[in-house]
Amino acid sequence: MIKREHTGNVIVAVLLGVCALLPYFVLSAAWTGFAINILIFSLLALAWNITGGFGGMMSFGHAVLFGSSAYATAMLQLHLGLNAWLAGAVALAVGALVGGFIGALSFRYGLRGSYFALVTLAFAEVFRVLASSFTVTGGGQGLSLPLGRELANLQFASRLDNYTFVLILVLIALAITIAVRRSRFGAYLIAIRENEEAAKALGINTFRVKVLAMTLSGAMAGTAGVAYLQTFLFVDSQIGFGTVMSFEALLGPIIGGAGTVLGPILGSLVLHTLGEVARESIGGAPGLNLVFYGVVLLIILRFLPDGLMGIFKPRSRAQAKPEGK
């Protein structure tokens, strides 16, 4: 039973590994750029997976964490002339802080399920409006970083260098995910997802665990934000805090398999590759790729509710209903 899951992990890992190496040997610059996008979304997906997958706290506004870091690193470099690497590090801390703040506020008042999803969406919207209202955040125009294609500026001379950088970030995020899965923290998160009351009865400080998860997720989403900014040298309120980014954050994990280690990356890869293939055949147009994503999401929810990794999940016998009184 566990063997089947294990085999699945190995197969997917090999598949992903092969794909990860493609830009070095086969892909054109254009496709490498596409691969960079997938990696950035994967980072965001892995971040969402910590809270939404392991912890069961589905957030519909994860962009707030992504955008906060993107804006933070941009502003630190533009307004304070801070070194890009330093700015990036601070931006990660910002992401973590915003995550912790939203988590603490929400969980302090016991928000769960749909309510939590809505509140995160509301926060993302607030940040979006704020970001587009002030000149220091670029107002409606957004923020652009000046070109300075050297590593010292965390900018890249070649696409491949850019790709390698983001790939390393993804590998680190993956390592963190595995570490969480194998730790007491991860076990506690999963317990909270399944049955929060029972978890409390076993001595788990559920508030602390959940806030920590949000903080970690914030830092990880922050890396996605920093990676995005250093790749595209631009961010605005729509990109940083908009719904598209929030949807991307959850599409990867849900389609790939929320709560698994490789699911978020697999989901992002499959989704965007399919989307690109569809676009080549049907022709691109604004919004069509999102329609495609929505349809894929529906199909997965209907036929593979555990995501693609769910293919490897063992089917357990019909469960005995818990007896009631």
Binding site: L111, V119, V129, P286, L290, V291, G294, L297, L298, L301
Partner: protein
């Protein structure tokens, strides 16, 4: 100052009535099916486009189109719930949320593709007639919308409390198993309920378009307002949706007055977050905490 505030408040009330109507549908759906219908805004947008095209292609006046819209969208809502939402979510709460989210993404972006992001409005002869109320001039359609929304709310209340279908729906909301045992077809009632909720959107669209506009993004703008109204008023409470909607309309108008158009939007979100944190049951919760 007063000269500015009173018109703002009055305008806010007019908008608020529409918010209330939109929220009524949402609160009904939540109160019975316990679904937070993420697609609510997208369906409103669809309804707005429908009214628009009915006018542009067939010369139908929005108010005349109202009964057809209500009927048509009722059917759409019924089909959506019965055919898509219940089957695709396998009954799990978290999945339902995602299914409606997926629907909203699909509808919003299909609209973007087919209708483009051009802002569309309808030109009606009476759209600019003003009615003088105190120091304010209120556009006639907005006043009509206000009154009509209240009437519609009253109608809805009547249907829910006096008709058999309405009573069946309310029975299910309180005790699903018991209702099933009494012979009520839960699936059908759920779909009816969703249909009624969507019909409210159709009515709101007809009342809204004369003084508003439609773009593919418009639905999304209404979603959060609608949710805020429902949460503020109390999930499942009709009176709450009414009062909440009117209140929010005023809050929005005043925030827009003092903070400017863009920043004023924060008012609604702030109310939303604060309500969820401090009084999640809302002002008029019919059944206590969630």
């Amino acid at each position: 100052m007063l000269g500015l505030i009173v018109p703002a408040v009055l305008n806010g009330l007019m908008s608020g009535a529409i918010y209330a109507l939109v929220a009524l549908g949402l609160t009904l759906i939540y109160g019975v099916l316990h679904i937070i219908n993420f697609a609510h805004g997208s369906l409103l947008m669809l309804a707005l486009y429908a009214v628009y095209f009915l006018h542009v292609l067939f010369g139908l006046d929005p108010y005349v189109a109202l009964p057809f819209m209500v009927a048509g969208f009722f059917a759409l809502g019924y089909a959506l719930q019965r055919g898509v939402i219940s089957t695709f979510s396998h009954g799990k709460d978290s999945n339902i949320l995602l299914v409606t989210l997926a629907l909203s993404i699909i509808i919003d972006n299909l609209a973007l593709y087919f209708f483009t992001s051009n802002t569309r409005t309808v030109d009606l002869a009476y759209a600019f007639e003003m009615v003088e109320i105190g120091p304010a001039f209120i556009p006639l359609p907005r006043l009509i919308a206000f009154i009509a929304a209240l009437i519609f709310a009253g109608l809805l209340w009547f249907v829910m409390t006096r008709t058999r279908t309405g009573k069946a729906i309310r029975a299910i909301a309180v005790e699903k198993r018991g209702a099933e045992l009494m012979g009520i077809n839960v699936k059908h009632a759920y779909a009816m309920c969703f249909g009624i909720g969507t019909a409210c959107l159709a009515a709101a669209a007809c009342l809204l378009l004369p003084t508003f506009y439609v773009t593919p993004q418009v639905g999304y703008a209404f979603v959060l307002v609608a949710f805020t109204t429902v949460v503020l008023g109390g999930m499942g409470s009709f009176v709450g949706a009414l009062v909440g909607g009117l209140l929010l309309g005023v809050v929005e108008a005043l925030c827009g007055l003092f903070l400017g158009e863009t920043l004023g939007q924060i008012g609604i979100f702030a109310v939303f977050i604060l309500t969820l944190l401090f009084r999640p049951a809302g002002l008029f919760s019919p059944r206590g905490a969630r």
